[in-house]
């Protein structure tokens, strides 16, 4: 399965290389633009820059799994994959991991370059708790794999639901603390904001910098991510069973 997905990954990268370069430019512009605005409004912090990268990186399972399922159920490639793979969910996760490797290779130098460009010193970078950050990233990604599978499952039935996947990504950008810290959001939004799947992760990486109780938010994040992963897998399998009764992507 790894070899199959690795082959597919390179074929996709080669074919869509222009689009990939365009997306990279978008990524740089969005991150730099938002961080510049945030810097003007409040103090520029390393965790603030990290939060924007965190949003982009952790949202990948949601966007990648959704887009793949949407495109493949339209072209018939998903049914073909279903015919040839014992565990479609596992194939999607392996494909995602390949994609994350590529994104990591891109994101690391990009983050380093932008951090230096925005005036953070190597001492600032080295003094950050990277171990805690990686743990937070891993746990958040696991939860988002669940969210991606849940959305992917829904797309196996309702093909037009792809719009909601995109909307959810931007909801997370603005209400999960990636741009504005949760504590600075309007009071009536805060209860909703704290319950969003990305919020605990971003709050943890902010606390890793400012010395807050990050272990507490990380523990809550673990519980939330396990819940999302289990629920997402269950929902994907349930939707797959339903699609097998009514046909793939047959409803609007």
């Amino acid at each position: 399965m790894w070899r199959a997905e690795w082959l597919r990954f390179w074929a996709e990268l080669k074919f869509y290389r222009q689009m990939w370069i365009g997306n990279l430019i978008n990524q740089v512009l969005i991150t730099a633009g938002f961080f510049w605005v945030v810097s003007l409004l409040s103090q520029a912090t390393l965790s603030g820059l990290l939060a924007l990268f965190f949003w982009q990186y952790v949202s990948i399972p949601l966007s990648k799994i959704s887009t793949d399922i949407w495109e493949e159920s339209t072209s018939g490639a998903f049914e073909q994959m279903y015919l040839h793979a014992a565990q479609p969910a596992l194939v999607l996760v392996v494909r995602l991991l390949n994609y994350l490797v590529q994104q990591t290779v891109v994101a690391l130098p990009l983050f380093l370059g932008m951090a230096l460009l925005f005036g953070f010193s190597l001492t600032d970078l080295l003094s950050y708790n990277w171990g805690g950050m990686l743990l937070t990233l891993g746990v958040s990604l696991a939860g988002f794999v669940g969210l991606g599978l849940a959305m992917g499952g829904i797309l196996l039935i309702y093909r037009n639901a792809i719009g909601y996947a995109n909307a959810l990504e931007y909801l997370l950008l603005f209400l999960s603390g990636a741009v504005v810290p949760l504590g600075q959001l309007p009071a009536f939004i805060q209860p909703l904001a704290w319950g969003l799947p990305l919020s605990l992760g971003i709050e943890t990486i902010r606390r890793l910098e400012n010395g807050g109780q990050w272990e507490l938010t990380l523990m809550a994040l673990v519980v939330q991510s396990v819940f999302m992963l289990v629920l997402g897998l269950a929902l994907f399998n349930r939707c797959l069973r339903r699609a097998l009764r009514r046909g793939f992507a047959m409803s609007r």
């Binding site: 399965m1 070899r3 074929a11 074919f15 015919l83 040839h84 793979a85 014992a86 194939v91 097998l244």
Partner: protein, 270 residues
């Protein structure tokens, strides 16, 4: 409905829109679960593992593959998923059998629909599928692609594999199918070899004739100037004055007639 498919034969599944052809194909491929009844493949109840190893499917109007991949990459991808041994050599062989070697490295997006269909056929060769399912087999194909597909399907069936296909182009279906099955509202209404069904339903081959003057036989379809467009049994053609016949063409294939006959009997056309 009850239907048996045998290795080595090409079976055409016919019916009007909504007859249940695509649903039946999906059921055989395990992409839909039956509400009731049982499907057996190679003598055993249909199981995902058996489908994976023994069934190849090409669906209606869809490339069925990620189009950024080339035919070779598609075959390698599915070959790796299935864990096929000696994969490189077998992919090369499948590409050769389906005349895909000249375009094997080009992305599917740049290739014709017929070539995408042949990539599906190559996949069937690669996994040595005992049952090949093609929904709307010849739809969207040009004359050359249809001829290529026809001979490729013949070769495939000749290796002892069963091919089940649906289609609305009756000329193609007549030319390629050993046996036809007629579906109407999810039920098998006719099943047999073409000549057997022709005898059973007393089917006639009709021609359309543009005739100058008043004909003595046939059914008048329209009149234009001094010409009459007639539909008549092929055997009645000799009864017309050949000097007055301006144009003759096949009115419908025997399968079209069969479809209409069954549909008429079932009361739908009335």
């Amino acid at each position: 409905m009850s239907l048996r498919l045998y290795g080595g034969e090409i079976v055409g599944l016919l019916g009007l829109n909504g007859a249940g052809k695509t649903t039946f194909i999906k059921l055989l491929a395990g992409l839909l679960e039956p509400d009731e009844g049982q499907i057996k493949l190679l003598g055993r109840p249909l199981h995902p593992a058996t489908v994976r190893s023994a069934v190849a499917l090409l669906k209606e109007g869809q490339p069925s593959f990620s189009e950024f991949m080339s035919p070779r990459q598609c075959l390698l991808y599915y070959g790796h998923l299935l864990g096929i041994k000696n994969l490189e050599a077998r992919v090369a062989q499948a590409l050769e059998l389906t005349d895909l070697l000249p375009v094997a490295e080009r992305p599917l997006l740049e290739l014709s629909f017929g070539t995408k269909r042949r990539t599906g056929l190559a996949l069937a060769y690669l996994k040595e599928a005992r049952l090949l399912l093609l929904d709307e087999a010849s739809a969207g194909l040009d004359v050359k692609s249809v001829a290529t597909l026809r001979s490729a399907l013949r070769r495939y069936a000749a290796q002892g594999n069963a091919v089940l296909l649906t289609g609305h182009e009756m000329g193609f279906m007549e030319a390629v199918c050993d046996r036809v099955v007629l579906l109407h509202q999810g039920q098998v209404k006719a099943d047999g070899r073409l000549h057997e069904l022709g005898k059973k339903y007393a089917l006639k081959q009709f021609v359309e004739v543009w005739y100058e003057g008043q004909p003595t036989v046939g059914e008048t379809l329209e009149q234009e100037g001094g010409l009459v467009r007639l539909k008549l049994d092929l055997r009645e053609l000799g009864l017309l004055d050949s000097q007055r016949v301006r144009q003759v063409r096949l009115h419908q294939s025997i399968l079209e007639h069969l479809l209409q006959e069954v549909d008429r009997v079932e009361g739908r056309m009335a």
